[in-house]
């Protein structure tokens, strides 16, 4: 009915059957997984206020188990409660399929009063589910504040369409949620091509949301109507009279052409048969054209009252009827560990103004901002449960959590109601004990002139010390004290001395090495000269003695000029023969050096003498 209905009628039967079969198979396959969730139950009244004789609906919905058994007979004195059937539904969100079954009841109040529909128990598989208690306020005077406004009047059975704006109250408080229903009905024979999927609620002075359509079939005044209902809830934002509506709902209906052109025969055969007339007048069979129509409701006025003054400090703007349940987890912690405190506020009202409950005594606790989660039980969000989770961290030992306090304004009782949870016992270990319960020695301490015995304690402190150090002590860290820094000078000086000594030693070693290298070089040259035959005796013996001096100096690290035959013999530990030969060589050298003569005219050294000298030099070994 909603949207372009003509396209639906043009679809072929086979195609529809195929789609239906595929959908059924897919649905059947998904239903199995849908049952995996833990079943839950919600119970909601279509209105919490009504008048005597004015029925309200009760819906009990079980999610997660479509085989749940209905509750046993609901009996409340003063209310006639009758079952109107049950519906099953499947919902798929992101391939997550949930199934639900809804049990519908009609409640017909027989007298005025405040009625409580008790908690009902349902069996869902092996689970036992329990619905919340519901309260229904019934008045018997249509002039009372809880009178329902039904703009558009009763449905006129002479017309095949109707539109009405249903407002259950004529007066309300600022912030109070008022459920609004706009109903549009089309007599069942009317072919409706299009109605808007959502409409807007005109008016000022209240908060509103888009109204979405839902479709049902109802028997009204002996006629069957297709009824499209648009539901929402509004909250008055100011005092005074606010006007809601009129609401205009455009629709497109198919009008039979025969009704527009009376010149055509009522049936093609021209027979005066009422049965055939009815057949050919059936709008589903006759040719029809679309016609745009506009259905309009009457406006409704609501008197909005201000909330009473002197609201409790814990009042945050919640208006309605609520209950609160509190819990905490874990219940045994150490000081500083977090405890998650949960407060579930359930009921009916303006949940957008329901704030986290306050704690009556936060002393000794560190409180973090609460998180909130709302699950609505109805279509418009005025019934449900809002769950607040607050993390508390104990700063000291505690034996119970502080009580949670939530205040709302009860629009039925017309007074503020403060809900207070029972303090939840917990076990907090470590840290210190709570001040309130522990005796304070400091507060019980005596005046300055009191005696030591006046201090209450199990164990006394230790005695006074009577010695002081010779030099004052300091808070300065040891590593920045002057004595420590000065002490570092000693190893520093030692290190510098060591380094200097080693450097000087290296320098000396270097000079000695160069000297030895020069001596070695000279010794090599001399040995080469001694091998030649062209040297004069004076030169030869001088070079020979010098060669021995150099060899001795290199062997014993001596000055070569200080070496004589005796020194060389002792350095090399020469035998007596070698010693004599050395002595003879040095004497010969001195002789030719100081006498100036040369071997009695001998100009060259004989080869045997050279060999003898070279053998002598080579024989000198350590």
């Amino acid at each position: 009915m909603i949207g372009n209905r003509s396209t639906m009628y043009r679809s072929s039967l086979k195609r529809s059957l195929a789609h239906t079969a595929i959908a059924s198979i897919a649905l059947a396959a998904l239903v199995g997984s849908a049952t995996a969730d833990q079943p839950s139950v919600t119970s909601v009244l279509t209105s919490s206020e009504t008048t005597v004789g004015q029925p309200v609906g009760l819906q009990i919905q079980v999610k997660g188990d479509r085989n749940a058994a209905p509750p046993s007979e609901i009996s409340v004195e003063g209310l006639e409660i009758q079952s109107t059937g049950q519906t099953q539904s499947f919902e798929m969100r992101n391939f997550d399929v949930t199934s639900s079954i809804t049990f519908n009841y009609t409640i017909l109040p027989q007298r005025a009063g405040k009625f409580t529909i008790p908690a009902l128990t349902l069996r869902a598989g092996s689970n036992s589910l329990r619905t919340p208690e519901l309260t229904l306020n019934v008045t018997n005077s249509p002039n009372q504040s809880s009178q329902s406004n039904r703009a558009g009047g009763t449905v006129d059975p002479k017309k095949n369409t109707f539109a009405e704006l249903i407002v259950p109250k004529t007066s309300a408080y600022v912030g109070e949620m008022i459920p609004i229903v706009v109903r549009v009905g089309f007599e069942i024979q009317t072919r409706v091509r299009e109605v808007p999927p959502e409409i807007d609620l005109p008016g000022q002075g209240f908060t509103k949301q888009k109204m979405r359509a839902s479709e049902t079939q109802q028997m009204i005044g002996g006629k069957t109507y297709q009824v499209v209902s648009y539901k929402t809830a509004i909250a008055a934002a100011r005092t005074g009279t606010i006007e809601i509506g009129p609401v205009e709902i455009p629709a497109v209906v198919m009008v039979p052409q025969s009704q527009r052109n009376r010149s055509f025969p009522q049936n093609p055969f021209g027979l005066n048969d009422p049965t055939l007339d009815n057949f050919f007048n059936d709008p589903w069979l006759t040719a029809s054209v679309p016609r745009q129509i506009k259905l309009t409701t009457e406006p409704v006025n609501i008197e909005v009252k201000a909330l009473p003054p002197n609201a409790p400090p814990t009042f945050g703007g919640a208006v309605g009827n609520f209950t609160m349940a509190a819990d905490a987890n874990p219940k045994s912690v150490q000081v500083g560990d977090p405890i998650t405190v949960t407060a579930k506020i359930s009921g009916r009202g303006n949940f957008d103004r329901v704030t986290g409950p306050a704690f009556d005594d936060e002393h000794g606790w560190h409180k973090y901002p609460p998180s909130a989660d709302f699950k609505q039980d109805d279509d418009v969000g005025i019934s449900g449960t809002k769950t607040f989770e607050t993390v508390l961290s104990p700063n000291e030992r505690k034996d119970k959590l502080p009580a949670q306090v939530f205040t709302y304004f009860d629009s039925l009782k017309e007074q503020y109601v403060t809900l207070r949870s029972d303090p939840i016992p917990v076990r907090v270990e470590g840290g210190t004990a709570p001040f309130a319960t522990a005796p304070r020695a400091a507060e019980m301490a005596p005046a300055p002139s009191a005696s030591p015995a006046a201090v209450p304690k199990k164990q006394d402190i230790l005695y006074q010390l009577t010695e002081l150090p010779s030099t004052p002590q300091s808070f300065t860290p040891f590593f920045v004290r002057r004595s420590f820094c000065l002490a570092q000078l000693f190893p520093l000086l030692v290190l510098l001395g060591y380094v200097g000594w080693k450097m000087r030693q290296a320098h000396l070693d270097n000079r000695e090495a160069r000297r030895r290298e020069a001596l070695q070089h000279e010794a090599t040259d001399l040995k080469r000269s001694l091998s030649r035959a062209d040297a004069s005796p004076q030169e030869y013996f001088s070079q020979a003695s010098r060669a021995i001096q150099l060899k001795t100096a290199l062997a014993k690290d001596l000055d070569p000029n200080t070496v004589d035959a005796e020194v060389a013999a002792s350095v090399f530990q020469a035998d007596e023969n070698t010693r004599v030969r050395l002595r003879h060589l040095f004497e010969k050298s001195d002789e030719v050096r100081y006498s100036g003569g040369g071997q009695n005219g001998i100009r060259l050294v004989p080869p045997e003498t050279r060999t003898e000298v070279l053998d002598l030099i080579d024989s000198l070994r350590r």
Binding site: V335, G336, E362, H363, G364, H366, S393, N395, E396, G431, T432, A433, F435, A438, A441, A442, E443, M444, A445, P446, P448, S449, A450, S451, P452, V455, K457, Q459, I461, L462, Y463, Q464, L465, T466, E467, L468, P469, S470, T471, P472, Q473, S474, F475, P477, F478, F479, S483, F484, A487, Q488, F490, P491, V494, L495, Y498, V499, K502, A506
Partner: protein, 252 residues
């Protein structure tokens, strides 16, 4: 060679001796100290406190003086001041057994809150600043002498290289321990709550939300100061503002 080894050991001994120099304790009495002790023994604790505080104001700080002052405050029932002075005694002499014993006793009595320490900090606190300083000094000079020796040796020595590596590790560990001691919540930022009914708050205002109730003697780590308010780390790992006149730093 023997001469060099001898010189090296002499150097090491000199370093150790220079580092281990500690003040000697004398037995003779300071007149002011003796008088304050006398007042204490006769039960005139406020006069004893005045005497001890005069000595402190004159700069004659010592662990025993702070300890005695803590005892006097305890007798007057001022647990915050008592704990503060025991902490000061331990800051001056970390191995002061009487101060440590009385501190435990008074903390228990006052139900004062302590700052949390992690495992590494507790392990490091087994040593004192002086011990870590000496260890760092010895390791430093050993490493430096080893490096100098290695430089002049003209050949690689495995023993010498091992000594240098070991010294470097010890030096680094000691320096890290000193850094931790100085910058941890037991370091120079440690303060003790001496006021009563002190609440750490979320902001620098008396009506700001409370973060934590701090009994007298509770430890805090001062992070910064703004006017008459201290911003401090609290025993419950949170941070808050407390009045500056409600807490005193341990290190003077």
């Amino acid at each position: 060679m023997k001469q060099r080894t001898y010189l090296l050991w002499v150097s090491v001994a000199a370093i150790v001796l220079s580092c281990l120099a500690t003040p000697a304790v004398r037995g003779d009495q300071n007149p002011g100290f003796a008088k304050a002790n006398q007042e204490y023994s006769e039960g005139r604790f406020q006069k004893a406190i005045d005497g001890y505080e005069n000595l402190i104001r004159s700069g004659q700080w010592s662990a025993n003086l702070f300890y005695d002052l803590g005892n006097a405050w305890f007798r007057l029932g001022n647990f915050g001041e008592a704990i503060l002075n025991y902490e000061r005694a331990l800051a001056v002499d970390p191995h002061h057994p009487e101060a440590a014993a009385n501190l435990v006793l008074v903390r228990d009595e006052a139900r004062a809150l302590e700052l949390k320490r992690n495992g590494i900090e507790r392990y490091i606190e087994a040593g004192t600043s002086a011990q870590y300083s000496i260890a760092a000094s010895i390791a430093f000079w050993f490493g430096l002498f080893g490096a100098a020796r290695l430089f002049f040796l003209h050949r690689r020595s495995a023993a010498l290289v091992s000594l240098i590596i070991f010294s470097t590790i010890v030096f680094a560990g000691a320096v890290l321990a000193l850094y931790s001691l100085e910058t941890s919540n037991r370091g120079r930022a440690l303060a003790i709550v001496t006021g009563k009914n002190i609440e750490a708050r979320l902001a620098t205002a008396d009506n700001a939300n409370s973060v934590l109730s701090l009994p007298p003697g509770s430890e805090i780590e001062v992070l910064s100061q703004r006017g008459d308010w201290l911003y401090a780390a609290l025993p419950n790992d949170l941070r808050g503002w407390i009045p500056a006149n409600a807490a005193q730093r341990v290190r003077m």
